[in-house]
């Protein structure tokens, strides 16, 4: 009796969260699917004809989609690579006995708390601007032609900006993980003649795999839908050079008012995210137990 009661109570406590998330997931998604079959432009009121899969055909065969698909992958993989490698290096460095470690850690962590619009605008104007930016100043004073980062290498520039935002996160997680490593084991291995490299390869790295999984998971969630950084720096350009899927769909639906096409694109984005998610969930299922 008591257990039945408490079970009912437990269910009652859990259900608001589950129901809300279910609604949040299902209602808009069903609407997106519905719109994606319609010829629906906000500029053209009146009937929205059912046009079957035409929106999907237009979206998927649009060269802009192919560009933005690869841009999305390059962006995610590029940032993941930089932050994982850089983060591991930094974590090992900060794990050494150094003076003022807490202060150093605070400095390294700070970019994570900078809102995306601020970091993108600061980098765009004060560092990457070809006339007044700091990089241009250093280039000219060394006798080089200044680079116009955002028009000559827009995607790389965005990767740099986003990596700067996420490197602190990776470093902090990996540092915390390294600090939980058993020191005595490491010392024993050293006494047994294991070199620096093999200690890193066979002891530190395996120990970090769980933390790395967490970093990859969280970063991928956020990196797949990068938006603000592109909006305020390049607006996707020049051409489609720095358009990712999120930005493409935004511009089709809210700048060109094509609800049908935007919805079809949104659904494609959901499918891509799901494919990625399946991989990630497998990884996390192995590495993180509830």
């Amino acid at each position: 009796m008591a257990t039945n009661n408490s079970r009912a109570l437990a269910r009652a406590m859990l259900s608001p969260a589950v129901i809300l998330l279910l609604i949040w997931m299902v209602v808009p998604l069903v609407m997106t699917i519905y719109f994606s079959f319609l010829d629906y432009n906000l500029f053209m009121p009146g009937e929205h004809d059912f046009i079957g899969l035409l929106n999907y055909e237009f979206f998927l065969t649009d060269p802009a989609f192919v560009d933005s698909f690869f841009n999305t992958i390059i962006l995610v993989v590029g940032v993941l690579f930089i932050t994982l490698v850089g983060g591991t290096g930094l974590a090992i460095l900060l794990d050494q006995a150094i003076y003022g470690r807490n202060f150093v850690r605070i400095m390294v962590l700070a970019p994570f708390f900078v809102m995306p619009t601020v970091s993108a605008l600061v980098w765009k104007n004060m560092f990457m601007n070809p006339v007044n930016g700091l990089f241009a100043y250093f280039a000219t004073s060394l006798g080089f032609e200044p680079i116009d980062f955002l028009s000559q290498m827009p995607l790389t520039s965005i990767i740099i900006i986003v990596s700067w935002q996420w490197l602190p996160f990776a470093s902090l997680i990996l540092l915390t993980a390294i600090q939980s490593l058993d020191r005595e084991q490491l010392e024993a291995a050293e006494l047994d003649g294991a070199g620096k490299f093999s200690r890193f390869r066979f002891m530190v790295l395996p120990h970090l795999s769980r933390a790395m999984t967490a970093v990859v998971l969280i970063e991928t969630i956020f990196l797949l839908s990068i938006f603000a950084e592109i909006l305020v720096t390049t607006a996707g350009g020049p051409g489609n050079a720095s358009t990712n899927i999120s930005y493409l769909i935004y511009s089709q639906s809210l700048l060109e008012f094509d609800v049908g096409m935007g919805s079809a694109g949104g659904l494609v984005a959901v499918i891509i995210a799901n494919i990625v998610a399946i991989f990630l969930m497998r990884m996390i299922g192995k590495n993180i137990e509830g």
């Binding site: 050494q96 003076y99 150093v104 809102m115 004060m126 839908s225 603000a228 609800v259 959901v270 509830g290």
Partner: protein, 276 residues
């Protein structure tokens, strides 16, 4: 010999760490310093690091030209409001899963996490149209609701990992001693659970403060938080580096300070308890 050696390596690593961390921190420092320069000094070559005439003019102008405090207040309402509302829903859910875990608990947790993977653009149009029809565009209420929903999975996960560490025997012991449910919650559970709840609150305020998809798309002027306010600086008119810096400093200072206090929680919360 070996002490001397380890001293030398300590100095070496210290130097290297300070060099790299200063480089990483530099854009923030540079923004902060530029905010006290005149526009002419902000773009002068060679750039001056510390030796210029410090001025507060930019801050005065930023606040005069735009209702900075309104945007600040909007950010506060959205981030704090959504985090508190989220707690109200997430605490019971996490509690129930931590102390009455069933076979399905792990699946529910994984499913919650998977909702976080739904890309915002996938639901952009329905949300936009629903908001338009309900008159929620550019309203704080709408943003608080959205922000609560997108952070609910992380909140529940984070609270779950905290609650999971509370030994269930404490509850049994207090029940044996004849505590009512009310007493149990007030005197036994609340004091143990409070630090975890506070950490969750802090981390979610930070995440919501910096969220820059829905806040940019669903607001215009009235309900625009600081993220959108700063985005309005993306099309410059004339000299503006110093003013951009002043506005940026105002937007990020409060959250950087809060963030520094939340380092540990951040690790735990964002790694879903995998790293503590």
């Amino acid at each position: 010999m070996s002490i001397k050696n380890s001293n030398r390596s300590k100095l070496f690593y210290t130097g290297l760490a300070w060099l790299i961390s200063t480089a990483i921190f530099f854009p923030i420092l540079w923004t902060f310093l530029t905010s006290f320069k005149t526009e002419a000094e902000a773009i002068s070559a060679p750039p001056s690091l510390f030796f210029f005439d410090w001025t507060l003019e930019n801050y005065r102008e930023v606040m005069e030209r735009s209702p900075y405090f309104r945007h600040f207040w909007n950010s506060v309402v959205i981030s704090v409001g959504s985090s508190l509302l989220g707690l109200l829903i997430a605490v019971p859910a996490a509690w129930s899963m931590a102390f009455n875990s069933t076979k399905r608990t792990k699946n529910i947790l994984m499913w919650m996490l998977s909702t976080k993977m739904l890309p915002p653009v996938g639901v952009l149009i329905p949300i936009y149209l629903l908001f338009r029809d309900l008159g929620l565009l550019d309203s704080l209420t709408g943003l608080v609701v959205i922000m609560t929903l997108i952070n609910l999975p992380i909140m529940t996960w984070m609270l779950y990992t905290y609650f999971k560490e509370i030994p269930g025997e404490i509850l049994e012991a207090s029940r044996m001693d004849g505590a009512t449910i009310g007493e149990e919650i007030l005197y036994v559970l609340a004091p143990i659970a409070l630090p975890g709840i506070a950490s969750t609150l802090l981390l979610n305020i930070i995440l919501a403060w910096n969220e820059a998809f829905w806040t940019l798309i669903l607001t215009a002027a009235k309900a625009a938080p600081l993220t959108a306010f700063i985005a309005s600086y993306s099309s410059p008119e004339g000299l503006f580096y110093a003013k951009l810096s002043a506005a940026s400093t105002l937007a990020i200072a409060p959250i950087i300070i809060l963030g520094w206090f939340s380092q540990k929680q951040l690790v735990r919360g964002l790694s879903f308890g995998a790293v503590k």
